[in-house]
């Protein structure tokens, strides 16, 4: 297919662009295969807006006489308005945008066409490989092994080719366990807590069904992680009710009788359309320009977004507490083990592991616990808050995770190497990007699409010093402790940086951030100067003394 076929009117003049907090600008609108480009005609101060078609969540058109108006709502929650003279042009442009923003073939997406303009210092596709992770692990323990059982994605289609499992469990046993777990997602290592050797594993639900099926290998596998005489905790991210209902569909949960060494705790983290609707309601509240305080608060409350944030954080804290405070190993799962499970395991690691609070460590966490762990990004992030499609598989699972990270960051503003912008950037790229990182639903699909060969990795771009400087937290001081966030409602806030980003002038907050950077930069400069002088002084003094000794 040629993109040209979809572009009926490639260019329109005298278009007026409206954005909140900016003056309206007149200029030229161009459509290309992947971008909507608006450039103002003003010679002195040419302004350009490039918008990826894949970032467009929905469009609306309106007509007043022959003046058409297109309202474009983006997945990053921005809303822009274009006034286009001429009904035909306007209709053409609207339908082109609609077609281009809803391409159904992945290989037509921009990452397959994008050619980077920067020099690649480090190929992001080769970073954060499981082997490296395992090497780190083997320096502290030898109880685990790297299994290549899923090499051809033959055992579990949503797992990566290599996984870390207890050493005492062979591949044959793993195959049996896979049969006993939803989507074949058998328990694998998610995190090893160096401080006390406790571990966190994740999986999907066991297929016990109504008649209480059991699998000895499964029991053996997870028991292999327990110290003699100790118990472990299974955190089921579903309520007991939901878990019980799952039995009717062949799923279920670990029964005490078969897992006597494990205590099961149910948390209630919502999934799918409940989350999507929550996002839609929240964004609607945030875009409500009325001056009414009651309405705002009740809409915020009704969206339930912060309730979800609280539930997820609480479950993650619980998992972290079991590991760090109780000295117990933990298994986390929900139904498929691709959504709430990953929210919990990844947040628990941020709480426990200082490494995950660095930029590279966090990238590695996203790669391990989200991309390789098979969170179906393409399905979940297909649409955002403005879509009307209401597909069951769309859900802001990853955005909720980022929101939770932001909440912890807000409570521990000096313990993270990255800043809020870094999280916002990940949110944007998860929904629309020139990079291939978040394409596909799992490693299997990514390898079939040959993403590493055909697209650029987000990490190749981010991890260059020019970009990194934008994402560094000037307040960062390495903190080797476990950080326990407060999950009380008083401590959780709306993430303004994402949800009110386009609705408020950010100038004053940006200035504050800049001021912060300057204060710290000046301090570092002085420190360097003082050190240099001290060194110089010391040298002169030794010279002095030597002279005197002579």
């Amino acid at each position: 297919m040629e993109f040209a076929e979809l572009i009926k009117t490639p260019r329109a003049d005298n278009v007026v662009l409206h954005r909140p907090f900016y003056l309206a600008v007149e200029g030229t609108l161009c459509l290309t295969g992947h971008h909507l480009i608006f450039s103002s005609r003003r010679q002195d101060n040419a302004e350009e807006l490039w918008l990826l078609h894949s970032n467009i969540d929905s469009i609306e058109k309106r007509f007043v006489g022959s003046l058409g108006t297109i309202i474009i709502k983006c997945k990053d929650l921005r809303i822009i308005q274009l006034d286009i003279p001429g009904m035909e042009e306007c209709l053409n442009i609207a339908s082109s945008i609609e077609a281009l923003s809803t391409l159904d073939s992945v290989t037509l997406m921009y990452p397959f066409f994008y050619r980077p303009m920067f020099e690649i210092v480090e190929d992001g596709w080769r970073c954060f490989l499981p082997d490296e992770e395992f090497e780190l692990l083997s320096s502290v323990t030898d109880e685990w092994r790297l299994s290549c059982i899923n090499k051809e994605f033959s055992v579990c289609p949503s797992y990566p080719p290599v996984v870390i499992v207890p050493k005492s469990i062979d591949d044959e046993a793993l195959r049996k366990v896979a049969m006993f777990r939803h989507g074949s997602r058998f328990p694998v290592l998610s995190y090893y807590h160096k401080k006390n050797g406790m571990v966190m594993m994740r999986s999907s639900q066991p297929l016990t069904g109504t008649n209480g099926r059991r699998c000895k290998e499964d029991e053996k596998l997870i028991n292999a992680t327990l110290r003699p005489g100790k118990r472990g905790y299974i955190i089921d991210t579903r309520s007991l009710n939901v878990a019980q209902q799952a039995r009717a569909k062949g799923g279920g949960f670990e029964q005490e009788a078969h897992y006597p060494q494990w205590r099961r705790i149910h948390k209630c983290i919502e999934r799918f359309n409940i989350l999507q609707e929550s996002l839609i309601k929240l964004v609607e509240a945030c875009n409500d320009q009325s001056h009414n305080m009651d309405r705002w608060l009740s809409k915020l409350e009704a969206s339930n977004w912060l309730t979800h944030v609280k539930e997820i954080l609480t479950a993650a804290c619980l998992a972290a507490q079991c590991i760090d405070r109780e000295g117990a190993s933990v298994l986390v799962h929900g139904t498929e083990g691709t959504d709430s499970t990953l929210q919990v395991t990844s947040l628990a690691q941020i709480i426990l592991d200082p490494r995950c609070r660095t930029i590279r460590g966090f990238e590695s966490l996203v790669v391990r616990e989200w991309l390789q762990a098979g969170h179906p990004f393409q399905q979940r992030c297909a649409q955002s808050a403005y879509s009307n499609s209401k597909q069951k598989w769309e859900a802001p699972v990853f955005l909720l995770f980022l929101d939770c990270v932001w909440q912890i960051l807000r409570q521990f503003p000096c313990s993270f190497e990255f800043n809020e912008q870094f999280l916002i950037m990940l949110f944007e790229h998860a929904y629309a990007s020139q990079f291939g990182t978040f394409l596909g639903n799992n490693e299997n699909e990514r390898s079939k699409l040959k993403l590493p060969q055909k697209t650029m990795s987000l990490w190749s771009w981010v991890n260059r010093s020019e970009e990194l400087s934008k994402f560094q937290n000037p307040l960062f001081e390495a903190n080797s402790l476990v950080i326990w966030p407060s999950v009380a409602p008083q401590s959780l806030q709306l993430w303004e940086g994402v949800f009110l980003r386009w609705n408020r002038p950010s100038k004053f907050l940006d200035e504050a951030h800049e001021e912060m950077i300057n204060i710290i930069k000046y301090n570092k400069e002085l420190q360097a100067k003082v050190n240099a002088l001290r060194r110089q002084l010391a040298q002169l003094q030794t010279a002095d003394r030597m002279q005197e000794n002579l």
Partner: protein
């Protein structure tokens, strides 16, 4: 009283055993803990209510709620002791004479001169001079000397030049409590002003020539504009109801060239109830997000804060952008009017956003114009219906602005919290009584100390590290957005959950940056010293005839300065906050059952065997305060740092 338990509100399992002392001024609880002997001091004047609850097997619980939002829960073993404490506190918390208040016994060990200096720190005449007054349009009037015209106004009042004593007195007779229009703020740049008064006694048809002339005079004092705004900060309905009582609001037909405007800020009773409701939400034990947000909305608190802010924004806009003078009033002109005038001044004039300027602002709009501190904040035992968080709301407005304009204020959140604290504490004389007249009669300045001097002395603690006097946010008028989604009004947990440190961010950006700035300053000094020394050394090497002992001396000094430096190099003052969490020794024998944060929710849904074994009464447990029950010894790196402990409300 010995063997009293102080309960932690967030977790019923955590309680400190200690001794309770009652003194003439304070309630003091001293923990028995051997090393720290942590003490909790509460001023009697901070106590807002005391509640004796039903006796239980463990003792008799006593709940003390404070005006600075601290809530203290004590359990006293003997019913009789409890009753005695209760009776004593009720008496102590409600003094009947000013002389009983703490400020008359508080002695910070300053001599007479220092005390007088302290009272001179804020000088209102100087402030009006700063505004450019007296000038061609405004003058100081002595019409109220000896409080002859209005007993709740200051003796020196600024009025338009064309307003004669006759007009002022005439106008005062037509205004509630004779609070005639007087100047609050004057804008040098365009002559626009903010004046304040009480409501006119207009009833359904009454009018007063002098009052009309007074408003005319205010308009004439601003030659650039042909009308003035009259802003009635009450809801229209309330103002209309007042007409039946012979009061009311200005009739546009009787006054030439006024534009009349209602801005619906509710009265003190609504505000008192609203705060009460919000505090109930704050006190909920492990509320869900919905409970909290719903309760917050239902309390209406943020709606009221927004109404006050909107009124301030309206007036600031009229003055700065339209260049129109504004007369503000409510009923008596000492509550809502004070709030709105001071918010508008704060938005208009960067001076009020400095530490000194903010003191001046409170002194000008609140203290001097007879805001009834004693009645509103219940310093002396009085009518509970007079109590209302009027200045608390103003202080919150300032905090909300600080959140939106982080570089605009010279002071930080702590400054606001401490001012709020001292408005209730009666430790300093500034906020005693209901009017300047009463304060003069009591000879407050001779007998007590000024809070402003105290704060000024410790100003380093109250600085906002992001403030720079040459920054764009510290220039000119602030323009906040109006819609809630643009200007996010937030719940101020730093104030209303002030004493529950577990709910606050664990690391303070302000403290961190202040430490960095302090270090920077030391570095600057060191840089200078080093530069000098280096130059000297280079010189001396050239001269090459030096005494031997000198270099040693030098290195000693150097060593000293580095150690200073390394002190500053650990800018983790925030850990103080964290260390104040008492940590509990691990409970023994029940490690499996109580091991987790089990919540009501959780108990219901989890396995029956789990909940049966669990011995949690409240269903709430915090994740902190437990040392790991297994996994061998505690690594030493963690032991000294309980700072990662958290109190989590888990639901």
């Amino acid at each position: 009283v010995e063997n009293v338990r102080l309960l932690d509100r967030l977790s019923s399992r955590k309680a400190a055993l200690g001794t309770l002392y009652l003194t003439a001024t304070h309630v003091i609880f001293v923990e028995n803990g051997s090393e720290t002997r942590k003490e909790t001091w509460v001023l009697h004047s901070q106590i807002s209510s005391i509640e004796k609850q039903a006796t239980t097997a463990t003792g008799c619980p006593l709940l003390i709620r404070c005006k600075n939002f601290q809530v203290i829960q004590l359990v006293i073993p003997q019913e009789r002791d409890c009753h005695d404490v209760y009776i004593s506190l009720i008496r102590l918390a409600r003094p009947v004479k000013y002389e009983e208040l703490y400020c008359f016994s508080f002695n910070p060990k300053l001599d007479k001169e220092e005390r007088e200096q302290g009272w001179k720190l804020v000088d209102l005449n100087e402030e009006y001079n700063r505004m450019g007054i007296p000038n061609n349009y405004w003058q100081i009037s002595d019409v109220n000397r000896d409080y002859g015209v209005c007993d709740s106004y200051p003796t020196e009042v600024y009025v338009p030049k064309s307003a004669t004593a006759h007009i002022i007195v005439g106008s005062s007779k037509f205004r509630s409590r004779r609070r005639f229009p007087a100047l609050s703020y004057y804008c040098k740049d365009n002559n626009a002003s903010i004046c304040r008064s009480s409501q006119p006694l207009s009833g359904f048809s009454a009018r007063c020539l002098e009052d009309e002339q007074m408003l005319q005079a205010i308009r004439k004092a601003n030659p650039g504009s042909d009308f003035i705004y009259v802003v009635d900060t009450r809801p229209k309905l309330n103002a209309m109801a007042n007409r039946a009582a012979g009061k009311g609001y200005e009739n546009e037909d009787n006054y030439s060239n006024i534009k009349f405007q209602f801005i619906g800020i509710e009265n003190i009773h609504v505000m008192r109830n609203s705060l009460q409701k919000m505090l109930e939400v704050c006190e909920l034990k492990s509320p869900s997000m919905s409970d909290f947000l719903w309760g917050l909305e239902n309390s209406g608190w943020l709606k009221h804060i927004k109404a006050i802010m909107d009124a301030g924004i309206f007036i600031a806009k009229a003055v700065a952008e339209e260049g129109v003078s504004v007369l503000v009033h409510c009923s008596d002109g000492w509550d809502r009017t004070a709030q709105v005038c001071s918010v508008a001044s704060l938005l208009l004039d960067p001076y009020y956003r400095t530490m000194k300027g903010f003191m001046v602002l409170i002194e000008k709009d609140w203290v001097s114009f007879g805001h009834k501190f004693n009645h509103r904040y219940g310093n002396l035992d009085g009518d509970p219906k007079e109590i209302s968080p009027v200045i608390d709301q103003f202080i919150e407005c300032v905090w909300q602005l600080m959140e939106q304009f982080p570089c605009a204020f010279e002071f930080n959140e702590r400054f606001l919290i401490h001012i709020q604290h001292h408005i209730y504490s009666c430790q300093f004389g500034n906020f005693l009584c209901n009017s300047p007249k009463e304060r003069q009669e009591l000879k407050i300045q001779e007998r007590t100390y000024s809070l402003w001097a105290h704060l000024w002395k410790n100003r380093a603690d109250y600085l906002n590290p992001l403030y720079r006097s040459d920054h764009s946010q510290t220039q000119g008028t602030l323009h906040p957005q109006m819609a809630p989604c643009n200007f996010l009004y937030k719940f101020w947990s730093g104030m209303y959950n002030r004493f529950e440190k577990g709910l606050h961010p664990r690391q303070s950006v302000t403290d961190y940056l202040m430490a960095v700035k302090e270090e920077t300053q030391q570095l600057e000094e060191e840089l200078e010293v080093l530069g000098e020394r280096l130059a000297n050394l280079q010189k001396s090497q050239l001269n090459d005839n030096k005494v031997k002992s000198k270099p040693q001396d030098r290195s000693k000094q150097l060593g000293l300065s580095t150690s200073n430096n390394s002190l500053a190099n650990t800018p983790q003052e925030y850990s103080n906050d964290l260390k104040s969490f008492p940590s509990r020794s691990p409970s023994q024998g029940d490690e499996e059952d109580s091991a987790l944060i089990l919540t009501q929710d959780n108990l219901k849904s989890s396995d029956p065997d789990l909940s049966a074994n669990s011995d949690q009464e409240s269903g709430v447990e915090d994740l902190s305060c437990r040392s790991p029950s297994g996994g061998g010894c505690l690594p030493s790196e963690d032991s000294g740092k309980d700072s990662d402990e958290a109190v989590f409300l888990a639901v």
